[in-house]
Amino acid sequence: MATMLDCRRVQPLLSEYVDGALSEETAWDVKMHVASCAVCQRVADDFAGTAELLGGLAHVEPSANFESVLAARLADLSVKPHRPSLREQVSEWWYARGSVGRPALASAAAFAFVVPLIMVTLTLRQGAVDAVNGTAVVKQSNAAASPASDAEALERLYDDHAAYSSSLLLGDSSAVLTPADSRL
């Protein structure tokens, strides 16, 4: 049943009208009004005109090497999750030096081992002194207890970072799609 609508009620519907998105009955009502109103006819024509201008824009395409660049990015991505262990890294590095540099490196490694050992010893001794003085410094001595715990801490940091990055990647898509989907 068609009813005459005034401009105030018709104009908000004109965008949907030109898209053919109104119900059959409402579209008929709008059509009747537009046929008798030059102003609304003009607005409807303009809306249709803007849609036509946008629809007529040239379609742009990505560059010819889009796929190869993407493949390279994904290759980098697939390499990152594999983290060689500390032993693997040291082993690879050691054998990559060749026999020439090994003696010097061995000296450096020995030095690098001795310095932390001295520091740990000093820390433990200080801890013992503090304990004697009634001061609890358990956390401090634990933190510097051994290079192994440092490596573990680094591992945890790396894992935390990886989990954080992963949650960022996962945060924008399907989880939000589902409720929006169910609303429709």
Binding site: P12, L14, S15, E16, D19, A21, V43, D45, D46, F47, G49, T50, A51, L53, L54, G55, L57, A58, H59, V60, E61, P62, S63, F66, E67, V69, L70, R73, L74, L77, L169, L170, D172, S173, S174, A175, V176, L177, T178, A180, D181, R183, L184
Partner: protein
Amino acid sequence: MNLARSLTLTHSDSTLIARCQKADIAAFNEIVARYKGKIFNYVYRMTGSMEDAEDLTQEVFVRMYTNIGSFRAEASLSTWLFRIAGNLCVDAFRRGKKERGVVTSLDAPTRGDDPDEAHGTRDVPDWSHAPTALLSRKELGAEIQGALQKLPPKLRSAVVLHDIEGLAYDEIAVAEGIPLGTVKSRIFNARVALREHLRPYLES
């Protein structure tokens, strides 16, 4: 060979996704081939920059690849990709504001590789009083892109998805994660603004 190619072309999105979820790189490449043009075109119309569009479209497919396991079959793949692309555009606009301290987001000066030539809002000659008949297709394209850049990103996205990418209102609602009524009002408001910016080309 031709038969194999035609069979490949008829693979549905859901089949490709299922294969992609099993780390089938050929399926992933097929999805890229199928959607890179649409996504690139959308991102370009959002940012107005070929360079940004290239980079952001790459990122869309990287994210699709890394998150394909969480994709739910009830959603359309294209809608999902448009959603990722839209979010990336918004992020880029925010970064642009922070870095440049301006409000025009990625409405950066145009580049020489632009298909619409010198479009945009800054380096564009004022053609606003030139009749459409006197403008080349590229010049008109530049004017329309310039008008799009003047819209707030939310309105721009809705009208680009509808009038350029051909999405229906309900598909835009899913892609943008907004109610259907909001889609309608955004497209309406976008057209009201575009009607003002493009008036000379609507009259002729």
